[in-house]
């Protein structure tokens, strides 16, 4: 059977599965719609969190990104996993004990302030829209490359599927489809990775193949080879970085803290029955995420060696290779040339392709090719190619659904129920939640079809905002029971203001100045969220010192969330 037909079959089967799950898991109340009735098994929630978290970017782009960045790729690997430790140890159990539906719920109640709630709602909606636009685009791209339908059709199909199970099932529908989507995406990621690891190093596990010697009998380690090739071709040594140490530190910190503060991740911990389940579920979530995140850097290294050797020709003797004649290029190069992901410009007119980091370079290679073309590079059967397509779509759909739910909850619950129309019934609120989800999907789809040029720029924004607003406010809300409304609100505003100003200046107002010489202390806009977080803490503490501490009943509330149960009884003694 040809690839096209197989892809339609496998992707179609995965869609049928998601829809079947959605029909089975319909939501009947706001509690089911917002937090799946609070009855999700911790391991299932771990899987759902992993799928929620790993987006089209993690699945399709991350390995390629690392492949071109070498050591510096560690900022993503550490940043996007390390945040879960903060989440599990400092946030998730307490927020579960608090037991409401959303992050703005916590901020608003803990700081007894509508202003705080409103700031939190705006941040949550902004962060989610930023993210979801990229996901819809991802769906469209996968559709157009693997199924050769145009991007608009791809986005519309993706929207229809997400609409169906988000609007119908709410959090309950999303959770169980995300469990299925995790299985699809991790299987699709690992199969080509294992094959390519065996091919390059003879190791079944990509994680150990990464540090093994090559299977060609030369006895040279993979990474040694890669370092050698990189310097020979005028790139930086693969295992060392080009970014400044302090910048790497700040970017990693901003991504970690941002991860821990992202509302669509936090809200997943409201869905488990007990505090101990929240702890457990965080551990499983990170385990499921780590499977992909430790495979990605291995794929990055394998794919890079493969690509360089395919284009430039294998290193057989001391002499550096001079390129492979285009007429002998493997079919994946010509296949992917059609999509524009790889292109060749024969500058020296010798009919041979050559890839390097200096003026000899004749190739343009897009980072996404590292995962998407992997099965072809490794000569894997057609069903693996189809599987990768289904995996990419699963990653994009699961993340979009999680984000859309946060948007709809923010509107129906935080904005309407808790702010503008406190007297509406549960039924009415549920109706508004569904309506908001529907509207959000249409807006997200619009951005997917007409991506604003700034999507790539605002991802830094999303993490920076989450890091400089939510994270400090929640941490102080739990660990400093006397922290008051004024401190928290001014801290959030200062943190967001500082971070936003820095990013807007370098990304939009004066992009030409966006070079390390102009950055404060060498911190790039991607890493400024870490500093914004410190600003938030500092301002909050300063204002707190000058104002009255939180009222007694709030301190009591904080006491209460610190203990899994029975705290109320103890104080009665």
């Amino acid at each position: 059977m040809d690839v096209q037909v197989l892809t339609f079959l496998i992707v179609g089967a995965s869609f049928a599965l998601y829809i079947a799950i959605a029909i089975w898991a319909r939501a009947g109340s706001t509690q089911e719609f917002y937090v799946a009735g609070g009855g999700v098994h911790p391991i299932a929630n771990g899987m759902a969190t992993a799928a929620d978290w790993m987006s089209a970017a993690s699945f399709i782009s991350m390995a390629g990104l690392i492949s071109f960045m070498g050591y510096d790729g560690a900022v993503y690997l550490l940043g996007w996993t390390g945040g879960y430790v903060l989440l599990a140890l400092c946030l998730a159990p307490y927020l579960r004990k608090f037991g409401k539906f959303t992050v703005p719920d916590f901020i608003g109640d803990r700081y007894y302030s509508q202003t705080a709630r409103t700031v939190a709602v705006i941040c949550a909606i902004f962060v989610c829209f930023t993210y979801v636009a990229g996901q819809m685009r991802g769906v469209g791209v996968v559709f157009s490359r693997f199924l050769e339908v145009d991007i608009v059709t791809g986005v519309v199909i993706g929207m229809a599927i997400v609409f169906f199970y988000t609007v119908l099932g709410g959090m309950k529908g999303i959770t169980y489809t995300q469990v299925a989507q995790y299985c699809v995406l991790i299987f699709a990621y690992l199969v080509p990775a294992v094959f390519i690891s065996i091919m390059v190093t003879g190791h079944v596990l990509p994680q150990t193949g990464f540090g093994a010697s090559l299977a060609d009998g030369s006895g040279v380690y993979l990474l040694e080879k890669l370092d050698g090739l990189s310097t020979q071709l005028g790139f930086n040594e693969y295992t060392s970085g080009t970014k400044g140490t302090f910048d790497v530190f700040c970017i990693t910190a901003a991504l970690m803290v941002g991860t821990a503060g992202l509302p669509h991740v936090i809200v997943r911990f409201f869905t488990v029955p007990k505090v101990r389940d929240a702890r457990k579920s965080a551990g499983w979530a990170l385990l499921f995420i780590a499977i992909l995140y430790t495979t990605a850097p291995s794929i990055a290294a394998f794919a890079r060696v493969n690509m360089i050797e395919t284009i430039n020709g294998p290193t057989v003797s001391e002499q550096a290779p001079t390129g492979t004649p285009y007429s002998e290029a493997p079919s994946w190069i010509t296949n992917w040339e059609k999509t524009g992901l790889i292109s060749w410009d024969d500058k020296n007119q010798d009919g041979k392709m050559f890839y390097s980091g200096d003026e000899r370079n004749e190739m343009q290679v897009d980072r996404d090719i590292m995962v998407m073309a992997n099965p072809e590079i490794a000569n894997l059967p057609a069903w693996v190619i189809a599987l990768v397509a289904a995996g990419g779509i699963a990653a994009a759909l699961s993340t979009s659904a999680g984000l859309l739910l946060v948007i709809s909850t923010s509107v129906s619950h935080d904005l309407l129920k808790r702010n503008l129309m406190p007297n509406i019934t549960d039924k009415k609120e549920l109706f508004y939640a569904r309506l908001a989800a529907g509207v959000a999907i249409v807006i997200a789809g619009y951005f997917g079809v007409n991506p604003p040029g700034f999507v790539a720029q605002v991802v830094a924004f999303a993490f920076g905002l989450a890091a400089s607003s939510f994270f400090p406010a929640i941490i102080m809300g739990i660990f400093m029971k006397r922290m008051n409304d004024k401190g928290a609100v001014s801290g959030m505003l200062a943190g967001i203001g500082f971070t936003a100003a820095y990013i807007i200046y370098f990304k939009f107002v004066n992009p030409a100045a966006n070079v390390s010489e102009n950055w404060w202390f060498g911190v790039s806009p991607e890493g400024i969220g870490a500093i914004g977080m410190l600003v938030n803490f500092a301002v909050a503490l300063l204002v707190f010192k000058m104002t009255k501490e939180a009222p007694q009943e709030i301190q009591q509330l904080v006491e209460d969330i610190r203990y899994p149960k029975g705290a109320g009884d103890a104080t009665a003694h």
Partner: protein
């Protein structure tokens, strides 16, 4: 079940914070320490095909992260039991 007295309640929170701090120190050392600040130093050490610092930055720290959460879960469950505040 609940805390027997105020002292117990304070002690529980103290132990929780102490555990959290210890684990966060490890979290910081393996990622920001070994993977970023000390990476050049550790890269002098070669373990199989990996430079050690590079390994921590792209593999090792992630394994430690997973272990830390499960250790926290296990220890906290014990603590909850000891103070009679476990659920069920």
């Amino acid at each position: 079940m609940a805390f027997k007295n105020e002292e117990d309640k304070k002690a529980y929170w103290r132990e929780n914070l102490a555990l959290m701090t210890k684990l966060l120190v490890v979290w910081f050392v393996v990622s920001f320490g070994f993977g970023i600040l000390l990476v050049d130093l550790l890269d002098q050490i070669q373990v199989f095909g990996f430079k050690l610092g590079f390994w921590f930055a792209q593999q090792g720290a992630i394994y430690v992260f997973v272990a830390l959460i499960f250790i926290y879960m296990y220890k906290m469950n014990q603590l909850d039991k000891r103070y009679g505040v476990d659920e069920e």
